[in-house]
Each structure stands twice: as C-alpha cells, then as structure tokens.
C-alpha cells in the first residue's frame, strides 16, 4: 500500500495521524480509498475534481498533479505547497 503523508492542517481528519497507508494503483484510487476511510479528506485536497490550486502532489519526490498517474506499492505521496518561481 502507498504511504500518504497527511498535511498537518488536515490531520484532524485522520485523528492526528501524520502518515497513513492506502491501496490504489493510481493517485485517484489512493485518494478515493483514503476518503472512504477518512471522510472529507478528498474535499480538503481536491476541488472540482482537481488538486486544489496552491497544492502540489509529489509521488516519490516527483511533482505531478495528474490524477491518473500510477502509484506503486511502496510509493510515498505528499501534498506540498506549489512552489513556482520568478
């Protein structure tokens, strides 16, 4: 199962847990499964079916907000501030 790091400001939904696990072969699956276990999580991280503006998703250190990107059994997923430059 993929490891998902929950941002501190939504850890209220995971009972304070910082790292949780969820099954899924794509980012979409992982998030849907996570939302089933921790209702409301998806709504905090996604909006209109897309990752909320200002958030970047990293899977194994690589940023991509595509929901159909593949996730491995040992993948690590983070939601981090979108950083872009000048």
């Amino acid at each position: 199962m993929a490891t998902v790091w929950i941002p501190p400001l939504v850890q209220g939904l995971t009972g304070g847990r910082q790292v949780v696990e969820a099954p899924g072969a794509t980012l979409r699956d992982v998030i849907d499964n996570l939302d089933a276990e921790y209702p409301g999580l998806k709504g905090r991280l996604f909006e209109h079916g897309r990752v909320r503006p200002g958030i970047s998703v990293t899977v194994d250190g690589v940023v991509s907000n595509k929901r159909n990107r593949s996730v491995r059994e040992d993948s690590e997923i983070h939601f981090v501030p979108a950083i872009s430059g000048g």
């Binding site: 790091w5 941002p7 501190p8 400001l9 939504v10 910082q18 709504g43 905090r44 991280l45 909006e47 909320r52 503006p53 200002g54 958030i55 990293t58 194994d60 250190g61 690589v62 940023v63 991509s64 690590e76 983070h78 981090v80 501030p81 979108a82 950083i83 872009s84 430059g85 000048g86």
Partner: protein
Amino acid sequence: MTLTRDKKGVAGKAPYKVIGTRPLRPDGADKVTGKAVYGADVHLPAMLYGAMLRSPHAHARISSIDTSEAERVPGVKAVVTAADLPVIQDILTDLGEGVVNLRYTSNNVLAHDKVLYHGHAVAAVAATSTAIAEEAVKLIKVEYDLLPPVLDVLEAMKDDAPIILEDLRTTELGEKREGQTNIASHIQHRRGDLEQGFAAADIIVEREFRTGTVHQGYIEPHSAVGLYNDDGHVTVWCSTQGAFGIRNQVSELLKLPVSDVTVIPTEIGGGFGGKLGVYLEPVVALLSKKAGHRPVKMTMNRTEVLQATGPTSASYIRVKMGATRDGKLTAAEAYLAYDAGAFPGSPVGSAAVVILAPYKLDHLLIDGYDVIVNKPRSAAYRAPGGTNAAYASEAVIDELAKIIGMDPLEFRLKNAVTEGDRRADGPVYARIGFVETLHAAQEHPHYRAPLEGKHRGRGVASGFWNNWGGRSSVSASINPDGSVNLLEGSPDIGGTRASIAMQLAETMEIAYEDVHPRVVDTDSVGYNDATGGSRTTFGTGWAAYEVGLKLIDEMKRQAADLLEVDLESIAYENGIFSSNGDSLGFKEIAERIDESGHPVVASASVHPEEFGPGFGTHIVDVEVDPETGKVEILRYTAVQDVGKAIHPSYVEGQLHGGVAQGVGWALNEEYVYDDEGHLLNASFLDYRIPTALDLPMIDTVLVEVANPGHPFGVRGVGETPIVPPAGAVANAIYDAIGVRMTTLPMSPGTILEALWAQEES
C-alpha cells in the same frame, strides 16, 4: 509525451562538443547596436498613446468617477474605467507565479469599488499623443471616501485592523474560517516532536526578523501595445516573461475566446518574476476597442513601476533552533508572516519550504501566514520568499555555530541534507549537491584567505531553491543549407536562445552556429509556460532536445531514401548518416531534400517534473564603518550546484545577478511609506539598487552535480543565488562588529542604531 533519457548514458557526463562552450548569443548583435525591439519600441501605424490615472490614496472607497471633461479634450479618443471590464467571478489560475484569483487581477488592473494602494490604477486615456493623454488624465474627477490604511504585516493581522477586502476569509488547506480578516491563508508543516527535539538541545537560539518591501527593479518599465481589431481579434505586443500567460489572462479578463487573443512578446528588459502578470495589457486592448480599433500603446514611467508593479513581500519571521554542543541540530520552529500587498498571494508557501530546506531535522514546526496590506499586489521576485526566509534561518544557524565554537561551514556540513533526506515539508530529496557546495566553499581560496584590518568580517550562508519544470513546446525545420530554424515560446531574458540552441546542436551533432532560434508569438508555437522558476534552459532546452531527436529520425528516413537502403540500417554519428559503407553528410541531405521527398519539420512538447533543486553557499567579506554604519562589500564568492552549465558565461551571469540583487536587498533596498500609505521613494534615486561602484567582482564556482532528471543534467540556476546573500552579509556584519542585525535592509542608519543600542546596553 514521454521524455527521452540521455542517449549517451549518464546525464551531464558525456564528452559534449557544444555544451559547456561559450558561444556568442544569437540576439547579441541586435542588443549591442540598439536594434532589438523592446516593449516601448513597438510602433504601429495610426497608433494612439495611453496614460493612466492612479490613486493618490492608499485605501479609499471610490464614490464617483467623472471622465466627461477628459473625453472632451481634443485628441482624446477613449477613456476607460473598471466599468468597462466584464464582471469576473472567482477564477483561480496558475500563471507560473503561483495561483492567482482573476477577480483580484481584474480589480488590480483597474480599481473596482475601492482603491487599495497608492498608485492603484483607476482610469486610462488614449489620445493622439502621450502629452495629451497625460493632460486629459488630470481632468478625470474621482471622489474618494478615505479609509484607514494598514501597511504593516503584524498590524494587519490584528483583530481590529482595517479590513481591506470585505469578502476575504482565512483559508487553511481547503477550509475557510469565519469572520472578516486580512489573513488570506495559513499553512503549516510539522514533523516529529518539537518538545522532545528542543529538550535534546544544549543550545537554543530564538530570534525575530523583519524585512522590508523590495522591488524586482528591472530597468525596462512595463509597456504594452494593444490592437482590438474590427473583427474582434485582439493582438497585444508586450514585454513579458510569458506570452501565453498574458494571452490567458487577457482572454479571461476580457471574456474573449483564447483563440481571439494573440500575444507577441517583444524583447524583455528584465523581469525577475515581475513581468508574469498583466497590468497594462487588458487596458490597452479596452482602449483600442473604444478608440475605433486603433492600436494603443501605454508605457509606465519609473514612478508607476515602483508604485503599482512588483514588489515582493515585507515579512516578519521568527526562528527558533536547537543544537547539541557537538553541532547537531535537534529541532527547529519557524513562524512566517508575509505581506501580499492588496490581494492574497504572497510567496509564504515557498518561504516555508526554503527556510529549513538545507538541514536534516527530525523535529520541526513551520507556520506561514499570507496577509494583505495596503501596498501594491506582490509579484514573484527571483526565488520568491526565499531571501527573507534564508536571511532569518541562516543568521540563527550562524549564531548557533558561533556559540558552539564550530566553523560555520563545518556546522552546516554536519547537518546538510543529502540524497534520501527529507525536505522540511516531507518529500525526499533525490540527488542534490548541497554538500558539494559546502566542500567547494571550504576549499576556496577566499575562505582560506586571512581577513585583515579593523571592522572587517566574513560571513557565509547557504540557500535552496526548488526550481520548476513547466510546459515547453518548440518547432523546428531544416533549411536547404543544413541549418535549423528553431521556434520557441520562451522569452529570452538572459541568454536562453543560446542555451536552448546549444542543446539542440548537441543533440543533432551539428554546429551551434547552424541553429537559428527565434522567440515567436502565441499563434506560432505550442504552449509554453513563462520564463520563470529557473525553468527555461531546463524545460525548453529539453523540448529542443526532443525535437532534435525527431529531426534526426526524419533525416534518417531521407538518408535511407537517398541511399536506397533500409531505414533500420542507417546510423548517425558526427553529422554523417551511414549504411553499409555508404554515407551522406547532414548538409548534403538537407540540400537534396527536394529530391528525396518532403521538407523536414518537427515539433516537441514536454512537461518535465524532475527539475532538480539547486543549492548554493556564499562567502562574503565586508568592512563596516562604525562611525557611519556603512557596509562595504570587499569580496564575494558564490558557489552553486548548477547541474550542468550549458553556457557557463550565462550561468555565471545568473549567479552574479542573484548576488547583486541580494546584496541590494541586504543593504539598501526598501519601500518607504508615510503613515497614510504614500510611497515616498518611487524613483531610482531613493530606491537604491546597487551601482557598479557598490560591488566588487563576484567570484563564482559552478559545482556540477548532474540532475538525473534531465538529458544533459541541467538544474535551474537563476533563483538559488538570491537566497543566501542577505544572510551571508548579516553574518559578515556580525563578524565585523559583533552586532546581530535582524532587519532588512541593513542600511547605515539601522546599523548605527544597532551600534548605539549595543553601547547603551
């Protein structure tokens, strides 16, 4: 599309022929002879000239605008106000400078019901000459009901602060808090157990820092020409970092199909993040529509540039760090409040990543607040938010090292992140070169040179920037003489035509001189994100690499036809296509394209994401005049992991420029406001960017730890070098006079005050 890996094996390590050399830039002759056309140089037949009316107040409700007298001036062809703009709902869009809300952009372009800062645009005039437009602007009558302004970030966060945007609510990762506020958002990163971490520390240092508002300071003022044609098509010529971003914003703000907008980027005279958003572009289009579809040009003067564009955030930062006596960091806590100007969107998000990025930490807490105040809307500025953040954390790191009695580079080395370590906000680093920069700094003659003389000091600081990939597209065609025309959509601000053409030449094994790159308009090439985020040589260079591979494949087909052999049997090396002993030169095939079939063209589009963060370590020597408080920069060395330097001269140039801007920020640059929120120093006389006499030669060390995520190992280089300077200078000042400076800029007046405070205590 899929991205192709380096066909030669290890990225950045192959024996390159073009990469790493220093050829002349393709646009060079035009730029040294004055032929290059920048924003204000555009001239069209029947062109009109615009001028803007700007708010004399920092915060006021607009009760009425009367433009009738201005409209009657002979020569005036159109007057527009916010009433001419379509109503825009909240649309969040990512323009490569972070996410912006287009309703706010509309409000910023022409003030809707309130003016929110001194210099906020209120109305615009188009006339047959600039002089007439300027006279007419003075005849527009605006009645204001004054409101109390709030300019300081901490004041703006107070419960009883004047409210700037009535509908603003604090957002915390998708959740909105109740009640009016100036705090747009709160972000947080947390890991481990802070209490436990600080309990393990032998020494804890906690300090507060303040930094002032600073401007990007590009020498070319904003300029745009708009033509709203009779058929409804809008063309905008402007100086911008991203023509596609301007196209999208103009289309959204004027509610036009994106296909009805063409943006033609001119040469750009500096941007540094400040030329990503729209200011004049929608206004000149509106004016053109109202003025009978004549083209309208508007160019800001320097006062307008400083009053109404840029700047980057002033900030309040508190940093607390603990370490053991043997030099191990045990915990860190940071609180960052960044002012965003009048609309949400300060770079506090990236600041919160930068602030602890170089260090291994098991226990940390970072809180960041995005706060609005009555100043111009903040724009990205080179490593947005990074300089303020590193100023604070690098000063605390320095102080810990001093208390422990450890060499500051050694202390950093003991705690430096490497591949596999976690960044403060969680993700794991891939191959990075931070440690390599620390070693290179230690070994540099500068660091070993004795520092003699009174009131002299040496400081070091490190910095991180994450860089960016973004989307890039290019098109290319082969000419009958064997040269290649390369069409790009990345405005060239600092030599990227050269660095991109070099990557194409390397890929195709042809001469650099045989590549002819051009930056074209939004109709002539696929989508490109802006030239920003240190992404252009990385991302558009990668697109050039991909297009090069395609062109070679296409040429192989032509070779197979001409040699009458199977395509599979064709090999290409050193500009020669060969098969079973027969061969044809690249140029020979190009010449015979007519005979062999069809013209050779190709396009490529990429969206690479493994952009590879950049780390830098800077060393600076200063001399402080304790009687005047003035700081002289005696010597400066910037070390940076650049991945692979495609054109080393322009990589060095990026380091030089970042250092110069960082030193200006460190020592003198700041916006000065009076209590009513009037900007007092909106000129290059009193907004003091460094002159040639304020800086020494800037030594650079290009450490090349190839980015495994790029065919040639490239990392972004432009932004990292502005992150360390303020911290390095502050640490050098401490070394020189024993005073820990905690405000930026560290101007002579503030240093004198600090010295006096030290004497008196």
